[in-house]
């Protein structure tokens, strides 16, 4: 891989207009990535999903060079119906459109080539890879006291022009005091066997509210990694919802630093997987000051040879008294080949805290199925009703009513 990545990197530099400083930054991270390589199961964080092996098996050799000089045509038929929204459209990793036409333009600031910045903590080789190859990093700032009128839908689309490619995206969001933003990430792929590596960085100032709904629903053969870093000042709220279902492999990581008092973080997720799919959610919630709160609920429904994993860590600093931390994961295994792994971790250095975790898994209850069938429902209907019922309380955690309905429709909930 080393020779290939170096050649692709040279090619990328030749075809882009990075400043010297950018190039220096990128070189540094390229070397860092080459040193560590793709993550594998020897790393604790990756013990349930060996990315290096998964890429080797499904893609073979990756190509890191992407030609971003040609504009792609935006297919407007992919737009969400019946929901007025702002848009950012990625096609094969290239930003094709940024549209905040519903908003006050003085209140939303878009920087398209601010300087790349080094992150403080970086043992994550995928972040190094992202830093080395990201074409453009946009920063979107929501000004003080402004709430976006409409949600922002970020379309992550790919088409069949790319294959065996590594695509890297990065977005930064700055939510100033008292501002709020709703983001829906919609993944829509027509390509196969690519590795897509997405980093978001959120900075929430006092009283800011972020709601991020990640929807991976459409079946596709891509391998995906998504990382959300969320920094929160006092009284800020972050809500992350993950529907993890469409991609062949997917790993969502959420790292959340509760830096300000009375800040809170919610992470809720659904794995709905079948036929050899393998997905993971890993969260780290750092309670760093007093009176912060976190809540996590993850549910899995797993079919034949499907595998999901949830690694949830709650860290409570010695200063963080009165922390309230909770996490629960549950799984329904539909087949004897289904596999669910849970690794809850509580690391607590304060004494006046309330933290709990739980995990349970099992198969569909045959007695319940019999009860439903004795009322005239066939096996398929009974199973669907039970699965929907099982997943409902995760969906109900979505605090935005408009988006809750959208998600319900996407999953096919009937009412």
């Amino acid at each position: 891989m080393t020779e290939k990545i170096k050649i692709d990197f040279e090619k990328t530099l030749k075809n882009s207009a990075f400043s010297e400083k950018d190039i220096e930054f990128k070189m540094k991270y390229l070397n860092k990535f080459i040193e560590s390589g793709l993550p594998n199961r020897k790393l604790e964080n990756w013990k349930f999903s060996d990315l290096s092996q998964i890429i080797q098996k499904n893609i073979g050799e990756l190509s890191f060079y992407n030609d971003y000089s040609i504009q792609n045509k935006v297919d407007t038929s992919i737009f969400v119906d019946g929901l007025e929204h702002n848009k950012i459209i990625f096609i094969n990793g290239r930003v094709e459109k940024i549209d905040f036409s519903y908003e006050d333009h003085n209140k939303v600031k878009i920087d398209d080539h601010f300087e790349f910045r080094a992150e403080s903590d970086n043992n994550n080789s995928l972040l190094s890879l992202n830093n080395a190859f990201t074409n453009k990093c946009f920063r979107i700032t929501i000004k003080k006291d402004y709430s976006l009128k409409k949600p922002l839908v970020i379309y992550h689309t790919t088409n069949n022009k790319i294959k065996s490619k590594n695509i890297n995206l990065k977005l930064e969001f700055e939510l100033e005091q008292n501002s709020s933003l709703r983001i829906i990430d919609l993944l829509k792929d027509e390509s196969v066997n690519n590795f897509i590596n997405i980093f978001y960085n959120f900075n929430l100032k006092e009283n800011a509210i972020l709601k991020n709904y990640k929807i991976d629903k459409i079946l596709n053969k891509n391998i995906r990694y998504l990382f959300n870093n969320i920094e929160q000042q006092s009284n800020s709220v972050s809500e992350t919802f993950i529907l993890s279902s469409g991609s062949n492999f997917s790993k969502n990581e959420v790292n959340c630093n509760l830096n300000g008092e009375y800040s809170s973080a919610f992470v809720n997720g659904i794995f709905s997987l079948d036929n050899e799919q393998q997905h993971e959610i890993r969260t780290i919630i750092n309670h760093l000051v007093e009176n912060t709160k976190s809540y996590q609920l993850i549910k899995s429904v797993l079919g034949k040879n499907a595998k999901s994993a949830y690694q949830g860590k709650i860290f409570v600093d010695s200063k963080a008294q009165k922390t309230d931390g909770y996490q629960l994961s549950k799984a329904i295994l539909l087949d004897e080949t289904s596999e669910f792994n849970a690794k809850p971790e509580l690391e607590i250095y304060a004494d006046d805290v309330k933290c709990s975790h739980g995990s349970a898994s099992g198969s569909l209850d045959e007695n319940t199925i019999f009860y439903l069938m004795s009322r005239g429902l066939n096996y398929k209907q009974s199973k669907e009703l039970l699965i929907n019922g099982f997943l409902l309380d995760v969906i109900e955690k979505i605090t935005d009513p408009e988006i809750k309905n959208l998600v319900k429709n996407m999953i096919g909930f009937k009412e």
């Binding site: 019999f370 009860y371 439903l372 004795s374 009322r375 929907n388 309380d393 009412e415």
Partner: protein, 244 residues
């Protein structure tokens, strides 16, 4: 309507029903009384199509071999089992469940499915009759319901689906006297010359409210005696142990 001939049922090599025979005609109410472990619940489970039993013998429902029908097909044909222990189903709204069930049965019988408005009208009417708290219809199915409410919910379902053969498996257990009356009225209102009932109970008390045409005593998987309502009174007096 229902003909059971020499039904034998085993579970894990243990024989539960032994050459059990019973004949129920349209419009009749039969009560089966028996001590714990006599095979009462096994009988209701087998009639509803629960899996896991080794079965021989013959059961005909309207001259059709019941064993060739899946559980839901039996429900479509008009067999209803009121469960001894109704199940709690988290996340499933009671109204949605009732509507799905009713429409599945209507559809299977070539009848028009009810829309939301028609359904609500019907379910309101029936809940009122059974003094079933309407607010509960918007809750998760049986979750947090008291024992009595769960049983009433079974009778509400029965009344919504208006089955031809209703099997009541110890519906009286866990009911207070008021609830017992309401439930019995619900059953009695469904009685007509076409509908039949099989009432499984330990106690004679329920039969004060729902007058059976026939009473059968089930012991060790076999009917040992059949008679009219007076048999229940005799049984109550003597107890199961001395009855033999």
């Amino acid at each position: 309507m229902l003909k059971i001939n020499n039904l034998n049922a085993n579970i894990d090599n243990k024989s539960i029903l032994k050459d059990f025979s019973l004949n129920i005609n349209p419009g009749e109410v039969h009560a089966i009384m028996g001590p714990n472990g006599s095979g009462k619940s096994t009988l209701s489970n087998i009639l509803s199509g629960k899996k896991g039993y080794e079965i021989s013998g013959e059961v005909l429902f309207e001259n059709k071999n019941l064993f060739e029908l899946e559980t839901q097909e039996r429900a479509h044909k008009g067999i209803f089992l009121a469960f001894q222990y109704p199940l709690e189903i988290p996340g499933v709204n009671t109204n949605i469940f009732l509507k799905t069930s009713l429409n599945a049965i209507r559809k299977a019988n070539g009848e028009k499915e009810l829309d939301a408005i028609e359904f609500l009208k019907l379910v309101k009417e029936k809940s009122k009759e059974l003094k079933f708290d309407e607010e509960k219809l918007n809750r998760q199915l049986n979750v947090g319901f008291s024992g009595g409410e769960k049983k009433k919910n079974e009778i509400l379902q029965m009344s919504m689906l208006s089955p031809k053969l209703s099997i009541l498996d110890e519906t009286d257990s866990g009911l207070d006297i008021d609830a017992l009356k309401v439930v019995s009225e619900g059953v009695n209102s469904l009685r007509n010359k076409n509908n039949s009932f099989l009432i499984i109970t330990h106690y004679q008390r329920l039969l004060d409210y729902i007058k059976p045409d026939f009473v059968h005593v089930l012991m060790n998987g076999k009917i040992i005696k059949s008679g009219g309502p007076e048999l229940a009174l005799e049984l109550e007096k003597k107890g199961y142990e001395n009855f033999n």
